[in-house]
Amino acid sequence: MALQILLVDDSPMIHNLLRKVLVKNGHEICGDAKNGKEGVEMYKSLQPDLIFMDISMPIMSGLEAAAAIKKLNPDSKIIMLSAMGDEAVLTEARVIGINLFLKKPFDEYKIISAISSVA
């Protein structure tokens, strides 16, 4: 099923990579946000099916943004992206209610598998 997906990451390279894989697999990128604050704003207006959200970003971190989005809609689907995957980060993500944690780097298989397990 084609999903409307919101990308929230401050890395243009990650945007590029995700966009290529997601579009190739029939999904639609409904928004590109460069920080958590933009992500929350875009979530409100776009109501995407799924969000890919980086953790470390300027202005508002991914964890803050994810918490804000989960408060707006506890059923929102968020896949958290991060270069760090230690226990402390994973615990924090679980407390917020993140649906899945994906450690960078990732390939097409990991991205598509992540979507299948969440959507």
Binding site: M13, N16, K20, S82, M84, G85, D86, E87, K104, D107
Partner: protein, 157 residues
């Protein structure tokens, strides 16, 4: 500096470049103590981290390698290492390497290290000097160019 603290950075650099771009990386010798200043190969990225200790990872690479890496990762053509996506890709590589290595270190030593975003320094021959902190370097080779990994932790580890 303890070997267990620095080895993951070298391993991660090799692994991540290969995983992300398919570029084969071979070590050109092991770690050695770096002199106080590095003369940049062309594109240097620096990620600082802090928690119970502080440190930083510097990955310095030749422009040809930076361009080849960005081309492979983004599947797009670039001609100069000063192009935005080439700079950003090198920065993201350091972020991913530092994140991967620090994940291992955090889980092993409970240091609560957190990363700051990468700082990207572009310019062949620029001197990067980090006073008052000893650091270890390792040289790496690829068919597309050389790179250097330099890692430093403050304090007695």
């Amino acid at each position: 500096m303890r070997q267990e603290m620095i080895a993951p950075f070298l391993q991660s650099t090799q692994n991540m470049i290969e995983q992300m771009s398919g570029i084969t990386v071979t070590a050109d010798g092991g770690f050695y103590e770096e002199q106080s200043e590095l003369v940049s190969l062309g594109l240097a990225t620096l990620v600082s981290f802090a928690g119970k200790v502080k440190g930083r990872l510097l990955i310095d690479m030749e422009p040809s390698l930076a361009v080849a890496f960005a081309k492979a990762v983004n599947d797009e053509n670039y001609t100069s290492d000063r192009e935005f996506m080439v700079l950003m890709s090198a920065g993201e590589l350091n972020n991913i390497v530092a994140g991967d290595a620090n994940t291992l270190i955090n889980n092993q030593f409970q240091l609560d290290l957190r990363l700051a975003p990468p700082v990207i320094i572009s310019g062949v021959g620029s001197i990067i000097r980090i006073p008052k902190i000893s650091s270890m370097s390792a040289n790496l080779m690829t068919l597309q160019g050389k790179l250097k990994v330099n890692i430093a932790f403050e304090g007695s580890l």
